[in-house]
């Protein structure tokens, strides 16, 4: 096999950055907001969903390989790309140029939010060894606490909005970069459609926040036992 030059590797890394934005990170975002929206139906349903996830075999491996490493890679490349741009949205104040600029800003905001979010959920869960059926009561307790204060709600609102915008606008860029959206009108129409999708994702997240904030009930583990792999 022919070895790749540095220049070809740079191109492939950028392509991989673009791809990881959708698969797996974008898909994860949709599933994450979707699963959590079970809380709007009831805390039992929510606990059922979280229990399901936390009883998956090899959960930690799946999380690290399919979520953490891709996010770290996408973020690292994202900062590298963002650092190289020569921003001019004030001088050439077109809507698209602002979206380009916001894509980079929201990427940074999502990164900060993820440090906070993972640092206050997954990290203490692992530290205190709350696995299997123990995880959901522990995590529900944390979310109740975070959604009880306006500062917590604000952090989550900014985090969710940044992530959904970044994903919706990113999906649009992805479709152009890979040649799925070619015509000018197609690009415009899809841009509008993707923003609606982003809006729905945002509402999903905000509804979940509201459910935690308005009805902060705690739960006990449904069962005990099992082995954490």
């Amino acid at each position: 096999m022919k070895t790749l030059s540095k220049s070809e590797i740079q191109f492939l890394l950028l392509k991989l950055h673009s791809l990881t934005g959708i698969i797996p990170i974008g898909l994860f975002l949709v599933f994450h907001l979707g699963f959590n929206s079970l809380r709007t139906v009831g805390v039992q349903q929510y606990q059922f969903g979280i229990d399901l996830i936390n009883n998956m075999p090899f959960l930690l491996w799946i999380e690290v390989l399919c979520i953490h490493i891709p996010i770290l890679f996408h973020s690292f490349m994202g900062f590298y790309v963002a650092y190289q741009g020569k921003y001019n949205a004030f001088r050439y104040a077109y809507a698209r140029n602002w979206m380009y600029t916001l894509q980079r800003i929201t990427g940074g905001v999502v990164f900060l939010f993820l440090i906070y979010h993972v640092g206050t959920t997954l990290f203490p869960k692992m530290m205190e060894g709350k696995h299997l059926y123990e995880a959901s009561p522990f995590l529900i307790g944390i979310m109740n606490e975070q959604m009880a204060t306006w500062s917590g709600r604000l952090i989550y609102l900014v985090g969710i909005l940044s992530a959904t915008f970044h994903f919706a606008n990113g999906l649009w860029g992805f479709c152009i970069s890979w040649g799925l959206l070619i015509g000018k009108d197609a690009q415009r129409n899809a841009g509008i459609a993707f923003m609606f999708m982003g809006l729905i994702l945002t509402l999903w997240g905000v509804a979940t926040m509201a459910a935690f904030a308005l009805d902060p009930v705690s739960v006990e583990p449904v069962f005990s036992g099992g082995t954490f792999l």
Binding site: S5, K6, S7, E8, Q10, F11, L14, K15, S18, V81, Q84, G85, K86, Y87, N88, R91, Y92, Y94, R96, N97, M99, Y100, T101, Q103, W172, G173, I176, S177, W178, G179, L180, L181, I182, G183, K184, Q187
Partner: protein
């Protein structure tokens, strides 16, 4: 129409020296454009302080917005000086050289990178060599219309000046080159060297460096559908990459 025009010009002696601003005051003439004002300054290079200075240097050629050589930043926006009528501009008029190309002197910049990059992308159609490659096939009307749109690029550099991904010190090929690669790839004879044009686009500085800000299409004086070209090249490179990675 006001009686006088104030023109603020960002000048520099040579590529290494620091830029400085100099203001000129001129009587306004009917139908004056930025080039005619620069010609007036050249005839009488006296600045607003009454000091006789070296005449301002700029580039121009066709004077009808088809050669691209007079491209500069006028009132903060990149465009052709020959097509910028003084009456339609806010006063004072500020003139700056483009910032994404190496400075030469005053309003003159060196755009040769664009031409080198077109060469890299094989932006031409090969003609007969030692052997006759035969008559080209007939091209349908729709393709010809599209090709005509793309053919109007005058390598002016407006798209690159406004592109946030194109800088003085990176090696991004930029939208004009992508559009020209598309243009020659869509010609049946040109398509014989399709892969040769796509090859440099899947390297550092290639199509993956575009961030879809779409400023390029917004400022292009020839209204070339650059964002369509970028997406079309995105598609061609996607297939080319899959072919290279999985079938070769």
């Amino acid at each position: 129409m006001s009686e006088i025009v104030l023109v603020k010009i960002k000048r520099r002696e040579n590529p290494q020296s620091a830029p400085y601003w100099e203001t000129f005051e001129l009587p306004n003439k009917p139908f004056a454009n930025v080039i005619s004002v620069l010609q007036d300054i050249q005839r009488n290079p006296v600045n607003i302080g009454g000091v006789r200075v070296k005449p301002v240097v700029w580039d121009c050629n066709c004077l009808e917005e088809v050669c691209g050589s007079c491209t500069m930043v006028i009132n903060g926006r990149v465009r052709q000086a020959c097509a910028a009528l003084i009456d339609s501009l806010e006063k004072p008029v500020t003139l700056e050289p483009m910032s994404k190309f190496p400075a030469v002197r005053d309003l003159q910049v060196d755009r040769s990178r664009m031409f080198r990059d077109l060469q890299q992308a094989h932006a031409w159609i090969d003609i007969d060599g030692t052997h006759d490659i035969g008559e080209g096939p007939v091209i349908d009307q729709d393709t010809r219309h599209k090709a005509y749109e793309l053919s109007q690029c005058m390598t002016c550099g407006c798209c690159l000046e406004s592109c946030p991904q194109y800088t003085l010190d990176n090696n991004f090929l930029g939208p004009a080159v992508f559009s020209q690669a598309r243009y020659f790839n869509m010609h049946p004879t040109g398509a014989m060297h399709k892969d040769k044009r796509l090859e440099p686009l899947i390297k550092e500085g290639g199509i993956a460096n575009c961030g879809n800000a779409q400023n390029c299409a917004a400022v292009c004086p020839k209204h070339i559908p650059l964002t369509e070209s970028i997406a079309e090249i995105g598609r061609q490179t996607t297939f080319y990459l899959l072919k290279k990675l999985f079938t070769e």
